[in-house]
């Protein structure tokens, strides 16, 4: 059997704030295989965001080992980490984090810009991704001209555009109404069915129920790790009454 996509062993993250040390992550170990759909849950301060930052190569662990796609990420320097983020991880944030006064198309192009692609290739790929999230007709709209759900779909297209191995979503529905949230979760499920590994950080059970595996954090440790029979977001959406 091949190695899991993500292998985490005894991962520790300690923040130093002046005199006091905060143990955000106290020895976490986990394996995540390609194609999983995982919800990471826990109250605030449980270490779930720290865990996500480390998985997404946004931060260095204090100790422990992190292997991502066979690479010892814990030993990489800043520029190599940036490269991993660029090529292999797609981020989706609670507040979308789109560049203002910049068209949806150009927002999706952004990771390709840092990957060094030529303009023509960038536009072609970005358009294809916008099509995939159903926003091709709005490619030239600015974020301010799009609804919250549309903005998040632009952000998902941006996360997908470099064809990453992993989508990391931090409270992706936190700023959306329930119906739009369902649409976004349906989109994640569709991507997962096509083989994409998806990790969603959330504190809402409503969101977690669409995942196939749930990791629960408390005080910097994983306290439970169980499989979940996922609800089909598209099906829920179908019976949900339309918003006024």
């Amino acid at each position: 059997m091949s190695d899991p996509l993500i292998q985490v062993r005894d991962l520790v993250k300690i923040y130093t704030m002046g005199e006091t040390e905060v143990r955000a992550l106290a020895s976490v170990s986990a394996d995540i295989a390609q194609g999983e759909f995982i919800a990471v849950m826990g109250p605030s301060g449980s270490g779930k965001s720290t865990f996500m930052n480390l998985l997404g190569c946004l931060d260095h662990a204090t100790s422990g080992e992190y292997r991502f796609a066979g690479e010892r990420v814990s030993e990489l320097d800043g520029d190599r980490l940036a490269q991993v983020r660029n090529r292999r991880v797609g981020f989706v944030f609670q507040h979308f984090n789109l560049l203002a006064r910049t068209s949806a198309l150009e927002n999706v192009e952004l990771p390709l810009l840092y990957a060094g692609l030529a303009k023509k290739d960038r536009v072609a790929k970005a358009l294809r991704m916008l099509e995939r999230v159903g926003l091709a007709p709005r490619a030239h709209h600015h974020p301010a001209q799009l609804s919250g759900g549309q903005q998040q779909r632009v952000a998902i297209a941006r996360a997908l555009v470099t064809e990453p191995l992993l989508i990391l979503a931090d409270e992706p529905t936190g700023a959306l109404d329930s119906r739009t949230s369902l649409e976004i979760m349906a989109l994640f499920q569709a991507l997962n069915r096509q083989g994409m590994t998806v990790i969603v950080v959330t504190h809402e059970n409503d969101v977690a129920r669409f995942a196939r595996r749930i990791l629960r954090f408390r005080d910097g440790r994983i306290v439970s790790d169980e499989a979940n029979a996922p609800l089909d977001a598209a099906a829920v959406l179908a019976v949900e009454p339309k918003a006024a």
Binding site: L58, G78, A82, R85, F91, L99, R101, L113
Partner: protein, 410 residues
């Protein structure tokens, strides 16, 4: 990430806050504009001095008759008649590096037909034109026979030619000076204003013997060979100071002056007077340029200030860019290009403004201005350096942000 992408990002970021960008540029615009105007005015002034030096002739010494002491009262320079034509002849004979021309000066009325003109009369030798490096615009110089034989011929300055003859060709015409008829044999080239602002072209030159015998006679009766001034030119390649000392020694010896006594003539090195003026105009230009540079410096600090604000405002943007794969150098490059774009655009506007102002000063005030491509290039380069220097710190601050903190920044 290539440069054109960085430039596009920078231009877009600057376009979002147009007023702020414009105000930030203002310091650089004023600084560069001021530098260009100052250099143009300074160079113009210097060029005018250089032209005056060229008009005067290079390596010139001017000897004037010394002060006469009358009953213990020292009279003005030139009041005595201590120089003579023989002094000039002696200089030419004894000092091979020097060329001397004696000159006898006076005023007179010149009449041609029913036109008349009041001007300066210079009685001198043919060497005078060589000493002053003065060419003829028309006609011919004196023949030696005319100099020695008191020929009734004269050369006229361009101002006299214009004033007296208008559009008529003066060469060959006969004018009357103190009722003596003179044939105009040549017209001198225009020299322009002297350093003191007098018109050097308002004169008539005639052989010294003629001047003494026919025109300026009464004023110089006292001593038959006396002259007021002797012009001396040191040959090219010789140190004028050395020649000056030789001339001084020769004159002291000829005038039989005791060691320790004062000179009975005044010897001035015009080159030195000019150099001093040139140096002072250069110092003035430098001083003004320094003041203008202070404005550039203040402009640079303004850029740094705004870039720091901009980095703080866009912390989340920086975090996002890092999350999608921007490396440290990409972020550094982005903010650095933004700062340099700001300062360079400011610099180019400053060039336009400075050039326009310089031309306006030249046109309306009539000051001599000299716009040099080097000065403009230097000002733009300076603006560029300021952008890099003052943009670097904010850019580095952005590039060093931690992506996690930057993303969470409110």
């Amino acid at each position: 990430m290539n440069f054109s992408s960085l430039l596009r990002i920078a231009l877009r970021a600057l376009a979002i806050n147009k007023l702020r960008s414009a105000l930030t540029m203002l310091g650089i615009v004023i600084g560069v504009g001021a530098v260009i105007v100052m250099i143009a005015v300074g160079a113009g002034a210097q060029k005018r001095v250089e032209e005056q030096i060229r008009a005067l002739g290079s390596n010139l010494l001017l000897i004037m008759s010394g002060a006469r002491t009358q009953g213990g009262v020292r009279l003005a320079v030139g009041s005595g008649q201590t120089l003579s034509e023989d002094d000039a002849i002696a200089i030419n004979r004894e000092i091979p590096e020097a060329l001397a021309a004696p000159a006898l000066r006076g005023g007179a009325q010149v009449v041609w037909g029913n036109a008349n003109w009041s001007t300066q009369i210079y009685g001198t030798t043919p060497e005078y034109l060589l000493v002053r490096e003065w060419q003829l615009a028309a006609g011919r110089p004196f023949e030696p026979s005319e100099t020695s034989g008191a020929g009734k011929v004269c050369l006229i300055g361009s101002t006299v030619a214009r004033g007296l003859f208008g559009s008529t060709d003066p060469v060959g015409q006969v004018v009357r000076i103190k009722r003596v008829p003179f044939t105009v044999i040549g017209v001198l080239e225009t020299k322009g204003q002297s350093l003191m602002g007098t018109d050097q072209d308002d004169l008539i030159i005639m052989p010294i013997s003629t001047a003494r015998g026919r025109v300026l006679g009464s004023a110089t009766q006292a001593k038959q060979r006396a002259v007021g001034t002797i012009w001396v030119k040191a040959a090219d390649g010789y140190d004028t100071k050395l020649v000056e000392e030789q001339v001084r020694a020769l004159l002291r010896q000829r005038h039989r002056l005791q060691q320790g006594s004062d000179d009975d003539f005044s010897l001035r090195n015009l080159q030195e007077v000019m150099s001093a003026q040139e140096a002072s105009s250069r110092v003035l230009a430098l001083l003004l340029a320094a003041v203008a540079s202070v404005s550039l410096l203040v402009g640079g600090i303004g850029i740094m200030n705004i870039m720091l604000v901009s980095v703080t405002e866009r912390t989340r943007e920086v975090g996002l860019r890092m999350a999608v794969g921007a490396r440290t150098r990409d972020i550094l490059g982005q903010f650095l290009v933004e700062a340099v774009t700001l300062s360079l655009i400011g610099g180019l506007i400053g060039v336009a403004l400075g050039t326009g102002t310089s031309l306006a000063i030249g046109g309306f005030l009539g000051w001599p201005v000299l716009l040099s491509p080097e000065a403009i290039g230097l000002a733009v380069a300076f603006a560029f350096v300021i952008g890099v220097f003052f943009g670097f710190y904010p850019a580095r601050k952005a590039a060093r942000l931690n992506p996690v903190d930057a993303l969470r920044f409110e």
